[in-house]
């Protein structure tokens, strides 16, 4: 009796123990997917405005750098920096003494050449008269042929001398004109109405002036009533920019205001293009930028060189499905099943079947170094390696994440347009960054929770 009770106890406790052990093993060994903490947001319809942000400087639309065409000392500086000038106003005078002397010299030379011409004309008259008289005498054989030729030659020489003197007069006249022009260039007037935005030279300085090249930049006259922002846009974004697009400008000097603008021009070549090899070698690693001109439609006391940040509105969408920017990520699509067996054999058979009717192809096929099946397998391997990642979002499905491929459109600072793949009201995972970019896959277990900035540190 006691023995049977003891057996009964052993049996019962063994059974209980076995059940507990089995359940414990199941609880421990059962594959548990790590639960990923995420944040979620609903897919909603909203209006989107795509903007391209670029930085640059404010510059006048019209700006002229004044540099002399003649060299000399500035003897009169009639303007100051910041002074308003009108078109034709005197800006400065360069010492004219040298050019005045040159003009006088040229003038004297001209008068001398005129006198020479008159002399040549008088000589021609005499020579002509001598020639005519002696021509009569020669015709009556009263003088020798040698004498006649002499008088003839003298006449022709006189003619030539007159012609030469005439040309000399022209040369002298041109010299006078040039000297006059140089003399005139010692007085510089403003070519436009504007403001002296920059004054580089002072009274008494010597300035260098040439006709072919830019001389000393004495000053800059700018029309400050019409200003524009010249910003640099990257090559990826510049294709979205077009003239007449609206822009919002934020000038550092006017922090609390945003100014309206309109794109008036887009550069057709990148900044720095056309530089010499030496100058471009150091900038070869810089980002490629294109200059965009944005006319500022509002008037304000802008000054050339002020820093500006422009937001150019490039595209618009109304009432479209949107997801937070952080929700959209990419994943590699699953590789298709490799049909190296049947598929390759079928292709091989097709290749051979095609080769047969051609006749000569069979020789080529035999000479082919790779058998058709291996070639096809190699091609499919190459294609799979070239598979591009696709855009996806992760939709909250209970306590699992479901990966859905989507097609995206434009975006603004916060949201992406989704053109295909999602419906209104679906809930998508919007954070954390690490979960979306790396950890999440289709079917993974998720739990909604607060954001953890430490876990979401973006990897470089």
């Amino acid at each position: 009796m006691a023995y049977s009770k003891k057996r009964k106890r052993i049996l019962v406790f063994s059974s209980i123990g076995a059940v507990l052990v089995v359940l414990t093993l199941v609880a421990i060994l059962r594959k548990k997917d790590p639960v990923i903490t995420v944040q979620a947001e609903k897919v909603t319809r909203r209006d989107l405005v795509e903007r391209v942000v670029a930085t640059g400087k404010i510059q006048p639309v019209t700006q002229v750098v004044i540099s002399p065409e003649v060299s000399g000392e500035i003897i009169d500086l009639a303007v100051k920096e910041g002074q308003r000038v009108w078109k034709g106003d005197l800006l400065l005078k360069i010492k004219p003494d040298f050019y005045l002397a040159a003009f006088n010299q040229a003038k004297a030379g001209y008068e001398s050449s005129v006198a020479s011409k008159e002399e040549a004309a008088a000589n021609l008259v005499k020579a002509n008269a001598d020639f005519k008289r002696n021509n009569e005498l020669f015709n009556h054989k009263l003088i020798s042929e040698a004498d006649f030729i002499g008088f003839k030659a003298a006449f022709e020489v006189a003619q030539a001398q007159l012609e030469s003197a005439t040309h000399q007069v022209d040369v002298a006249r041109a010299t006078v004109d040039s000297a006059q022009d140089s003399l005139d260039k010692t007085t510089i007037v403003s070519p436009l109405t504007g403001t002296i935005s920059k004054l580089n030279s002072q009274l008494g300085e010597r300035v260098l002036g040439t006709v072919q090249n830019v001389g000393t930049e004495i000053m800059t006259v700018a029309d400050l009533s019409e200003m524009e922002a010249r910003v640099d846009v990257g090559e990826v974004d510049v294709v979205l920019i077009a003239t007449n697009q609206i822009a919002r400008l934020e000038v550092d000097a006017f922090k609390d205001r945003k100014f309206a603008g309109m794109v008036t021009g887009v550069a057709k070549s990148a900044n720095g293009l056309g530089q010499t090899a030496l100058s471009t070698s150091s900038s070869s690693t810089d980002a490629t930028k294109f200059e965009v001109h944005i006319r500022i439609t509002e008037k304000e006391s802008f000054l050339p060189g002020m820093s500006v940040t422009a937001e150019i509105e490039t595209r618009y969408r109304t009432n479209v499905l949107t997801v937070p920017i952080a929700s959209l990520t990419t994943r590699m699509p699953k590789e298709p099943k490799k049909d190296g067996g049947k598929g390759a054999a079928a292709t091989n058979a097709t290749t051979k079947a095609k080769a047969k009717p051609a006749g000569t192809n069979s020789t080529v096929a035999k000479a082919d170094p790779l058998p058709a099946a291996d070639t096809n397998a190699w091609r499919s391997d190459k294609k799979s390696k070239e598979t591009k990642p696709i855009e996806v979002v992760f939709v909250v499905d209970g306590d699992h994440a479901r990966m859905l491929p989507v097609k995206s459109g434009i975006s603004d600072d916060d949201y992406y347009e989704i053109t295909e793949g999602l419906k209104d009201g679906q809930e998508v995972v919007s954070g954390g960054f690490k979960a979306i970019s790396r950890d999440l896959e289709d079917g993974k277990k998720i739990v909604k929770g607060p954001a953890n900035p430490a876990a979401d540190t973006k990897e470089p």
Binding site: K5, K8, R9, L11, V12, F13, I16, V19, L20, L23, T24, V26, A27, R30, K32, V35, T37, D399, K445, V447, K448, G449
Partner: protein, 262 residues
């Protein structure tokens, strides 16, 4: 005539003094799983022992508290429980029975209550179970079995049978972890693919719990031993009483749900 000699008065023999139980409390707590008859024979013959009902309450409370802490420490579990609570309150808001602010407040209190319940609720439930079953068994013994039973003795039986409930808590915890389902239990409700507490079928199948039945049988054995009644007769009364109590509790719960929405 001589009177017959008077029959000397004899006092009835005094009942044997209560004996000290042959096994220790630990042995009784373990043997109640395998040989409950022997355990309850000892309890019947022994002096009243507080340990017979207090220690099982403590064990039950500890096992329940530890299970609660372990389950709620799992983020997935906590999230599932939170979502279910949230849905209940959302339904109440949609039904217009409470405002959103009030619902948010209640949700916070519910979370706090769940944590407190998980921690100390086990001890509280242990007391309720032991003394509740003690009272029920005493009633059955008194009025159905016509036995003169002392309440605390019956309570000792209920207490020792609570050891099986403690084992059930442990098994339930292992099932929750094993199947990753906060509603897992050693009952036929595990057969359902989508268990839903609001589903009547789920409620019904949850009652078909092998460990609950085991505890009921053990209680029946204990009551039968105390009352000197065959166990089979006691089982009918105990199961019947259990069914009535469960029905009343289920009906009350459904009435409350209907009153407060969800």
């Amino acid at each position: 005539m001589d009177q017959p000699p008077p029959i000397p008065e004899t006092t009835p023999p005094a009942p044997p003094p209560p004996s000290v139980p042959a096994t220790s409390l630990a042995a009784r707590l373990l043997n109640v799983f395998a040989t409950p008859s022997d355990v309850f024979e000892e309890v019947k013959a022994a002096l009243p022992s507080v340990g017979n009902w207090l220690v099982p309450i403590v064990i039950f409370g500890l096992v329940t508290a530890v299970s609660s802490v372990l389950v709620l420490s799992q983020p997935a579990m906590a999230q599932k429980i939170h979502e279910k609570q949230e849905k209940v309150f959302d339904d109440q808001v949609k039904a217009g029975k409470v405002t959103q602010e009030r619902a948010d407040q209640m949700e916070k209190y519910a979370e706090l209550a769940a944590k407190i319940a998980g921690g100390v609720g086990g001890f509280f439930m242990g007391f309720i179970t032991v003394f509740g079953w003690g009272f029920l068994l005493w009633l059955i013994g008194r009025f159905a079995l016509k036995a003169d039973l002392r309440f605390m003795k019956v309570t000792e039986v209920a207490g020792l049978a609570t050891s099986i409930s403690a084992l059930e808590s442990l098994v339930r915890m292992l099932l929750i972890f094993g199947f990753n389902n906060p509603l897992a239990s050693p009952s036929m409700a595990m057969l359902l693919k989508n268990p839903d507490p609001k589903n009547g079928l789920f409620t019904l199948l949850s009652m078909v719990n092998i460990m609950t039945f085991w505890a009921l049988v053990v209680r029946s054995i204990g009551l039968g031993k105390l009352a000197g009644v065959p166990t089979g007769r006691v089982v009918v009364w105990v199961f019947g009483a259990w069914a009535v109590v469960i029905s009343i509790l289920t009906a009350s719960s459904m009435a409350l749900q209907g009153a407060f929405g969800g």
